[in-house]
């Protein structure tokens, strides 16, 4: 079966530094596919090339079989791709509901509507509230987003992405800075997302990834060193070397 998201030979350099070199992977429909690697492996650069925030030097990005390489972020959204941010970027002074409704209206093609009040777009409001209910944020719907706890903001990020009704959802380290309890909650949430969309998850925490992924792709120094089901990845010698090497180095530094 063709992948919902196919990345072929993606490369990106900054000056002489090759951040990403010939990365290929294929996210199957309904899968949670994780892209992991130690810090500086080029995951985030690859992520940004796929989501339109960087233009790749070479390679191809196919979304549902359509070549979307180098498309601007807003065009990717209408093509069915949604992303979240590693550093939470919810609209702080808007309410939680309005944050999601904004995305829902955008998805409904209402962005240029200048006459009706935004709150009167009933379908968007209803859909936004529905998503918040599913994700367990409904009781915070009327709070300003800046007043949410860190973990809740991460959930809101995902709610905003879901309102765009994507076929592929890209998550950039959704558990960064979370307590272990919150991490478990997000992990369960990510797993449940795969019922609605294919997920490409970028993480550096190996443990979270192994529990919830269908396929794991491992990057170090800009290149893919291994790709496969979690059970195979956790036994892979090169992966262990890359990860344990880093872990040992970090351990020594502490």
């Amino acid at each position: 079966m063709a992948g919902a998201l196919v990345i072929r030979g993606l490369s990106k350099s900054f000056g002489a530094f090759r951040a990403v070199e010939g990365v290929s992977l294929e996210v199957a429909p309904g899968h949670v596919h994780s892209l992991i690697g130690p810090n500086g492996a080029g995951k985030t650069t690859a992520f940004n090339c796929v989501s339109g925030f960087l233009k790749p030097d070479a390679g191809q990005v196919l979304l549902d079989g359509r070549d979307v390489t180098g498309w601007a972020p807003h065009r990717l959204v209408s093509a069915g791709m949604a992303r979240t941010f590693q550093i939470t970027r919810v609209f702080g002074e808007l309410t939680v509901l309005e944050n999601v409704a904004l995305a829902a209206r955008s998805q409904e093609g209402m962005n240029l509507e200048m006459w009706r009040p935004a709150g009167s777009v009933a379908t968007a409001q209803a859909r936004a509230l529905d998503i918040l209910t599913t994700l367990g944020l409904a009781d915070r719907a009327e709070s300003n987003a800046e007043h949410l706890a860190h973990g809740e903001k991460r959930v809101l990020e995902i709610a905003i992405a879901l309102a765009l009704q994507p076929t592929v959802i890209l998550l950039d380290e959704p558990t960064a800075g979370m307590s272990s309890g919150e991490t478990e909650r997000i992990a369960a949430l990510i797993r449940s997302l795969s019922a609605r969309a294919s997920v490409l998850l970028v993480e550096h925490d190996m443990e979270i990834v192994l529990g919830i992924s269908d396929v794991v792709t491992v990057m170090t120094q800009g290149s893919v060193i291994a790709s496969g089901p979690p059970s195979a990845i956790s036994r892979d010698a090169r992966v262990q070397e890359a990860y344990l090497g880093v872990t040992a180095a970090v351990g020594a530094a502490c």
């Binding site: 601007a72 807003h74 959204v77 992303r83 962005n111 240029l112 200048m114 009040p117 709150g119 765009l164």
Partner: protein, 319 residues
Amino acid sequence: MRKTAGLRGLVLPLVAAGILAILPYAGASPFTITLLTESLIFAIWAMSLDLLVGYTGLVSFGHAAAFGLAAYAAGYFAREVTGDFFFALLVAEAVVIPVALGFGFVVARVSGIAFAVISLCIAQVLFTIAVTWRSVTNGMDGLVGVPLPRVAGVTLASGNAFYLLTVLCLVAVYLWLTRLVDSPFGRTLQAIRTNEERAASIGIDVHRHKWLAFVLSWAVAALAGTLMVFLKAGTTPMSLHWTESGNVLIMTIFGGIGTLLGPVLGSTVFVFVRDEFTTRFKAWQFVFGLVFVVVVLLFPTGLVGAVNRIRSFLWRARS
């Protein structure tokens, strides 16, 4: 509930407009009315700037460009062809909107300091043209001999009649902009102000929306410029000068950006303070500057923010 809120939103501006409209008949002197007319024209101009600064997060240092360009276009047309106000306004828009489309396309690609600088450059280019293209603009002496405005064939000979026309324009612009900023489009502008990348990632075409906001802002400013050229019966290159861009920015920030009501308050205070102090001593700008700095430091959201804070303080004290 939403309906009553909508009605309440209408009551305040209509009551305010009613009070403004009866002022000439309640003993306000012709001089006060002229001053008030000027401040209301500035209010329209400042609201148009608020759409950019307060709602889209684009600080323009060249908003005089739209104002002065409209003043020249409308004034020239009125002198050469007809003093009909709406025809002159139409001509001003027909000149300003294409220019805004052109400049806006470029300037909407940037934000922050770059936007401020480029907008300043645009205004200075127009200023230079106004000074040097003497055959049309009459150079530094400016455009003179603009006739009295006519509306539906009736010449607005008295200051009061023109004042009422200005009040009407102000109310129309206020109601329209209030509606606009609350619309889905208005909300996308506020999303862009908060974070452009975030806005793009929910499918908002950031460039197109900033461009459109720029053109709408200029179109509203063109109305103000048209009114002004009739009020003064002419205009000079100073209407395009960067000091004018500075003044309207000060009025907007002083009143409170992102509020629409703020620019109206800010411009009124500005015009009346200027009038009060220019007659007493030359350094009135120094005084206004001090007041401006104090207000902005104490109340970053301007006069409107100050009023809101005092109100909520009294509210708490009472309960």
